[in-house]
Amino acid sequence: MFKKILIANRGEIAVRIMRTCREMGIETVAVYSEADADAAHVLEADEAVLLGESEPLKSYLNSDRIIDAAEKVNAEAIHPGYGFLAENPDFAAHCETSGITFIGPSSRVIRDLGNKTVARTMMEKAGVPVIPGMLEATKDASSLCEEAERMGYPVLVKAASGGGGKGMRVVSGKEEMEAACLSAMSEAEKAFGDGSLYLEKCLESPRHIEFQILVDQHSNAVHLYERECSIQRRHQKIIEETPSPVMTPSLREAMGKAALSAALSSGYTNAGTVEFLLDLSGRFFFLEVNTRLQVEHPVTEMTTGVDIVRKQLEIAAGNPLTLKQEDIIQTGHAIECRIYAEDPEANFFPSPGTILVHREPSGPGVRNDCGVYEGFEVPMEYDPILSKLIVAAGTRDAARMRMIRALENYVILGISTTIPFLINVIKAPEFAKGDTYTDFIGRHFENWSQNMEGADLARIAYVVDELTTVKRPLAATKDKGWQTPWETLGEWRI
């Protein structure tokens, strides 16, 4: 096993990886940018190396500086976390040529699976169902129209070199098709310098269901069941759970098998996630493989008892998987909510700033993977995730009620967070019924705003705070240090 590893990431995921390292007796090295000198992951690590300025390209996305840091401190391996360089084949290759173990699959696998049409072709060969569509892109609008006719509307027009929704159009009928192709083409040309498009069948109200897989370097492969991540905003997941409310034993077996053949046919090693869309009729289609640790991995850990980061390190060190598929038993139900520094009333615009108060929820079945603390200034340069709140309980309903309780106990003041919005979503009758589709937020929570119930109490609290603050002279407090409750309780009687 490794003696020392470098974690090429920041925030909650870096902290989470370091915790497992500590339990395994592995030394940890944090890297950080100037904005992150006092960040939680820097405080958590055994050693920390400054990469450079706050811009990601000069720090967390700078492959040269990260490799230099690893060489300087003699780290044997690099864990990339998620985001930043985690799915960058050049970075993985850079590790390989520098003799540093990249904790993840090989650079070749990352490259193959990162290319949409290569991955689709690979999956078709392996017998994994893919969303019906074209395997080759074109710039000819009339052949796109013919193809759409053959496939049947609605269709999804996608840019071959696309990303982030640019050059993407949902077309519901023939009459809109040509105009949509032309505008998508010019958008893609402008954004990516490549206007070629391809088509995919557009599924109506699909669910997003993914399988966690583990593959060692000796071709042993298991899956750790599914996660459903249909609740998304801006094509990004915000609530994830396992098991999926619609999963049946036979569907699980079929999807699990497909996930493993997807992994084995591509030469996959380490932990990964095979994503599928499930349509209303119960058919599933390959979406993509995420060649890294997922944000939502804790729900799987909470229901299987497997520490996925530990498995990643063991696999990367060359150890064989000792887990057999039949050893992996899923019990109960787990839900994760992503807590972002965003204002849900202002179209989820990021809300950086200083956290004035931070009280984490606790209690049975509650886990909070957190990358911030009270007094920390959330920088505006990076992804606005603050923490991930995960709960587990015996049933979906019990987990739901536990999540509501935990969210209501999660105090973050000074910046806007998604907490009040998440409470409303989890409480929604559609969520309770398990009617979760990828268009859930748009359909039920468009233009959400916090209701004003409690506003009177908030105003009263404002004044009470004024009254109680005036009572504490600042100088006296300073002399005595912290005041005990007996000093501030006054004439309170029970």
């Binding site: 340069e381 908030a458 105003r459 404002y462 705070d465 501030t488």
Partner: protein, 173 residues
């Protein structure tokens, strides 16, 4: 004692009577009167019994008001009488109709107009970015760009007036 307290755009008058020393008081907001016992639990927590119902809230003083946390909800409560004068200038309590200010602390990435330009309502003026997301600030009304108070890569915050747009003369206020 009277307060005028504002949450989002809603201002309500609150009248408090009773003895602060005794840690109980009556609060009247509109038609409703609440009888409240309270004590401060250091730090930031207030335990209150409101008409017999117990509740714990958390309060933190931010620069522009107090943040109040209550059962998973968070309110920014501001004293309407203490809001900065600049914000209370002509036109409205928060900002003048022609002023463009970012919704969150952010960095300016693009300025798409120049002083003196004629702009239409909804036209993009400035693009700011925070945490990997870009947002375009648009003209609040038809008019002429009177002044640009920022530059590319400047760090800006809500309340900073980045662009002033003056409505054209033909329509009197």
């Amino acid at each position: 004692m009277k307060y005028r307290l504002k949450i989002s755009e809603e201002t309500a008058e609150l009248d408090v009577s009773g003895s602060a020393g005794r840690q109980n008081a009556e609060f009247t907001i509109g038609e409703k009167t609440y009888s409240v016992r309270y004590r401060a639990i250091p730090d930031h927590c207030l335990h209150m019994v409101v008409d017999g119902k117990r509740v714990s809230v958390f309060v933190a003083d931010g620069g522009q008001g107090k943040y109040v946390f209550l059962n998973g909800k968070s309110f920014l409560v501001r004293d309407a009488d203490r809001l900065p004068l600049r914000r209370a200038r002509r036109g409205g309590p928060d900002q003048t109709p022609g002023d463009v200010t970012p919704p969150m602390p952010s960095v300016v990435v693009r300025i798409m107009v120049e002083e003196g330009d004629l702009v239409k309502k909804g036209q993009g003026l400035i693009v700011v970015t925070a945490m990997k997301m870009e947002t375009t600030l648009v003209a609040p009304s038809d008019g002429r760009v009177k002044k640009i108070n920022t530059s590319i890569e400047a760090k800006v915050a809500p309340g900073d007036i980045l662009v002033e747009v003056e409505e054209e003369e033909q329509e009197n206020e």
